[in-house]
Structures are given as structure tokens and as C-alpha cells.
């Protein structure tokens, strides 16, 4: 049984670098100011796990959590 991943952007930490949107466009959305939030409920569809970790490890503000559920 494989674990399911969920991404979450801390809106207080995000400063709109938009790295997550560039690296994992399926998992993140930007608001009108360019600040990020997770797409939908943040659940990472199978096959996109690497992109979730990549987004986390490229966020300069350490605003992204990847939660293993």
C-alpha cells in the first residue's frame, strides 16, 4: 500500500516566487498577486510525487509542506 501525498502552501510564508507553479503546475495555483496555494485539496495524483518534492525543495521561503498520509 503506497502512501498518499498532500501539498500545502503556508500563505503567511509564501512571497510569490512562483517556483512551485513553474515546477509543478498541476499541484499549485497562483492568485491575482502571484501568491501560491495548493490546487484543490492539495492531494497529489499518482505519478506527480516527484514534482511535489521538487516544488518543496525549491521554495525559497520554505512555505511548502508535503504531507505523507
Amino acid at each position: 500500500m503506497t502512501e498518499r501525498l498532500r501539498v500545502h502552501v503556508d500563505p503567511d510564508k509564501c512571497q510569490g516566487h512562483a517556483r512551485c507553479k513553474a515546477l509543478a503546475p498541476e499541484l499549485f495555483e497562483l492568485d491575482e498577486y502571484g501568491n501560491a496555494h495548493e490546487a484543490g485539496d492539495g492531494i497529489v495524483p499518482p505519478g506527480l510525487e516527484d514534482k511535489a518534492w521538487l516544488a518543496k525543495s525549491n521554495c525559497p521561503e520554505i512555505a511548502i509542506d508535503v504531507i505523507e498520509e
Binding site: 521538487l54 525549491n58 521561503e61
Partner: protein, 406 residues
């Protein structure tokens, strides 16, 4: 031409750890070994120059300061020889502290989102190709003066709605503010006055004939109470967009091409794998970050265990942070397929560069179009590469040789 108000030259640095100077020719030429020396001495170093100035040398110390707006003010953002009285609305939001920072910043963000930049991208590709058309038959070019420079100038002129033919005017103002202004207050003031007069004329024109550009956007902006911005705020933000949008990306594109001219393996890989260019852009931004900012200490505190006292400036070197080996394995190597890269080239915290999405798009397009048409190029051994001094670092002369186009 002689200048009666020649500023005093700085004595050469002999003790970098206790007497650093980011305007010293040695720093301009090769700052990397200096940063390494400073970092191995302390996470925060101090100089008596510039009326007293600290420099955090590690990524962690830079992050601490960037995130601490209580002890570190942005009212002064360039480390200079003098500290004249702070002007109100100097260049909001970059010169703003909380709580006035957030509304000023939010106002500027929507025109610079990644989606907004996508709309500008075809125009940028056309501009790059027009510039290349101008020299590709020559087999040689100064890529800083004839390519890297004009890409951001034309982009920001287009967004502001001012003539691209005024480029040389903008470039001169920026040189006066960011380089000459460190040591010569009169040059800075003259440039600020000329820019304000220039934008005032454009604002007046738009009162009778509104346009679809950033000048009209700022003129029509309303605050939370529904009031228009003060004219000084509009002028300050316009000056900021012009200054911050040009030198910076000019430097980043120039440094990237400089690296590729000297590193055939990376150049050939990007020609063969253009899909890697966005990742390479991030790595080039890390390794050759152009922009060093500043803060002013307004309350005593400690940073990475080092005491920091009011009355001093802080040279906030994102470029040095990005070379910290504790944060980046092989920090001194350019690894164009680096996967983890939390670089701080666009700053950290609330003052994240408002134009970061624009700069990234310009860099990607500039490298893609160049490599498509000039895949093989090298530094001209008969020429000299020169670098800008002080706040923004990048090549100002970048002589290349390449095979002439048929």
C-alpha cells in the same frame, strides 16, 4: 570632461574581514573569494566605511535579516558614503516598511504575474531576434552593450508605455543612481530630478489621453479608502520600476552569456536540450546573482549570534548568500541541472523582487533565442570583459566572437 565635485576615492582594502568595501576594484573583479574569506571569519562582518556597515556572509544570516523588518528598515536600500535625510515615497514599495509596505506592494503585483508575463513573451522574442539581426553578420559583438542591455530596457519601456528610443537616457540615470551615486550625492539627486520631470510629462499627457500601460495603471490606482495615490507615490514607484527593471536583468543575461561563452559543455548541452534552459536560468541566477540590497539597523539585536547596533547600514548580499556551501553543495560550481535550488537572487521575505517573473521570462527568452541562432561563441581574446561596480553586478563589456551567419 572635468567634474568639480569629484568624490573622494576610497583607499584600497588591505584587511577584508574588518574593512570590507564592495566598491573596491578587487571586489568588482572577483567577489567570490572575498565572500569566502569573510564567511570563514564570521557570519556577520563589519566595516567602518560607509559610516558603518555590517555584512551577513551566510545564507542563514541573510535570511534572518531579510525576514526581520522590526530591527532592519528598508528606508535606505543602497549602501553609500553619505546618509542624507530619507525622502518620503522615495521608491515604494522597495523603500517601505510595514505596515505601509503591503498595500504599496500589492498594487504592483498583478501586472507582473507569470500569466501577465506570458502575454509579453512573443514581443520579447521578436525584440531578441531584432537585436541579433543587427550583429549576426559581423561575427563579433559586445553582447552586454548590444544584446543583454536592450532586452530589459525594451521590456520595461513597453510595460510603462514610454518610448524605447529613450533607452540611453534611462541607462544613464541608472548609472548615476546605482554606481556614481554611492560616492557622489549630486549625481544621484540630478538623476532622480530628471527622472521625476520625465515621468511628470508622461503623467500629464495621460490626463487627457489615458493609455493601457503601467503609468496609467498607477494613476488610476485607488487605496483602501478609494483615494488615488499621492503623486509622489506614483513617481516613486515609476522610478523604482525603471531603475530596478533594467540594470538587474541586463546583468543577469550578461553573466549567463559570459558563463556559456567560457563553458562549452554547458553551452552544448543547452543547445541540445533547450528544455533545460529554465532550470539553467535558476542556477545561473544563483551563481551570478546580480543584486545586493541594503537595510538600515534601527534597533539593537543579534544575528547568528553576532551583536548588531543601530546607526549602521547592512549590505544584504543575496549573491554571497547564494554561494554559501552550507546551503548549496558545490556552491562554487555552476550545475545547470541542479535540482534543489532555494536561491535568494530575488530576495527573501516581504521585499521579494516584484519583477522576478519578468526577469525569469526575459532570461529564458534571451538565452533560447541566442542559442538558436548563435550556438557556438567564445570570448574575444582581443577584448576585455568589464563588470559594473557596487549594488548590481554584471558584465558591461562582453566581447564575443562567433561564426558569421551566411
Amino acid at each position: 570632461m572635468s567634474d568639480v565635485s569629484q568624490p573622494a576615492a576610497h583607499p584600497p582594502v588591505t584587511d577584508w574581514v574588518n574593512d570590507f568595501d564592495h566598491t573596491d576594484p578587487q571586489w568588482t573583479e572577483d567577489p567570490f573569494s572575498i565572500w569566502e574569506e569573510l564567511r570563514s571569519a564570521s557570519p556577520v562582518v563589519h566595516t567602518k566605511r560607509f559610516l558603518g556597515c555590517y555584512m551577513p556572509t551566510t545564507y542563514e544570516a541573510v535570511r534572518e535579516i531579510a525576514n526581520d523588518t522590526e530591527h532592519f528598515s528598508s528606508r535606505r536600500i543602497i549602501v553609500r558614503d553619505v546618509r542624507p535625510e530619507v525622502a518620503r515615497n522615495a521608491a515604494p514599495p522597495i523603500t517601505s516598511d510595514p505596515p505601509v509596505h503591503k498595500p504599496a506592494k500589492q498594487l504592483l503585483l498583478p501586472p507582473f504575474t507569470p500569466d501577465a508575463m506570458k502575454k509579453l513573451e512573443p514581443r520579447m522574442r521578436a525584440i531578441c531576434n531584432e537585436l541579433i539581426d543587427g550583429f549576426i553578420v559581423d561575427g563579433k559583438v559586445d553582447a552586454a552593450a548590444r544584446y543583454a542591455k536592450y532586452i530589459p530596457v525594451q521590456a520595461i519601456a513597453h510595460m510603462l508605455g514610454i518610448p524605447e528610443s529613450d533607452s540611453d537616457l534611462f541607462i544613464n540615470w541608472i548609472h548615476m543612481i546605482l554606481e556614481l551615486g554611492i560616492k557622489d550625492e549630486s549625481k544621484l539627486l540630478q538623476a532622480v530630478q530628471e527622472m521625476s520631470a520625465y515621468f511628470t510629462t508622461h503623467i500629464e499627457e495621460r490626463r487627457t489621453r489615458p493609455t493601457d500601460d503601467l503609468i496609467s495603471y498607477l494613476m488610476n490606482a485607488r487605496d483602501k479608502e478609494g483615494q488615488p495615490l499621492e503623486e509622489s507615490h506614483v513617481l516613486g514607484s515609476l522610478r523604482l520600476l525603471l531603475i530596478a527593471g533594467i540594470d538587474t536583468t541586463w546583468s543577469a543575461i550578461g553573466s549567463s552569456l559570459w558563463h556559456l561563452a567560457r563553458t562549452p559543455a554547458d553551452r552544448e548541452r543547452l543547445v541540445a536540450e533547450p528544455a533545460l534552459i529554465p532550470n539553467a536560468v535558476e542556477e545561473l541566477l544563483r551563481a551570478y546573482s546580480p543584486v545586493t540590497m541594503a537595510r538600515e539597523v534601527v534597533k539593537e539585536t543579534t544575528i547568528s549570534g553576532c551583536p548588531v547596533k543601530p546607526g549602521n547600514m547592512v549590505l544584504l548580499s543575496f549573491p554571497a548568500a547564494n554561494r554559501d556551501p552550507k546551503m548549496f553543495p558545490d556552491a562554487d560550481k555552476v550545475v545547470i541541472d541542479r535540482r534543489e535550488n532555494r536561491h535568494a537572487a530575488f530576495g527573501l521575505g516581504i521585499h521579494r523582487c516584484v519583477g522576478s517573473n519578468l526577469a525569469r521570462m526575459e532570461m529564458q527568452v534571451a538565452l533560447e533565442e541566442w542559442l538558436k541562432r548563435i550556438p557556438d561563441f567564445a570570448l574575444d581574446p582581443a577584448g576585455t570583459v568589464t563588470w559594473s561596480q557596487g549594488t548590481v553586478r554584471g558584465p558591461r563589456q562582453l566581447p564575443f566572437l562567433f561564426e558569421k551567419a551566411m
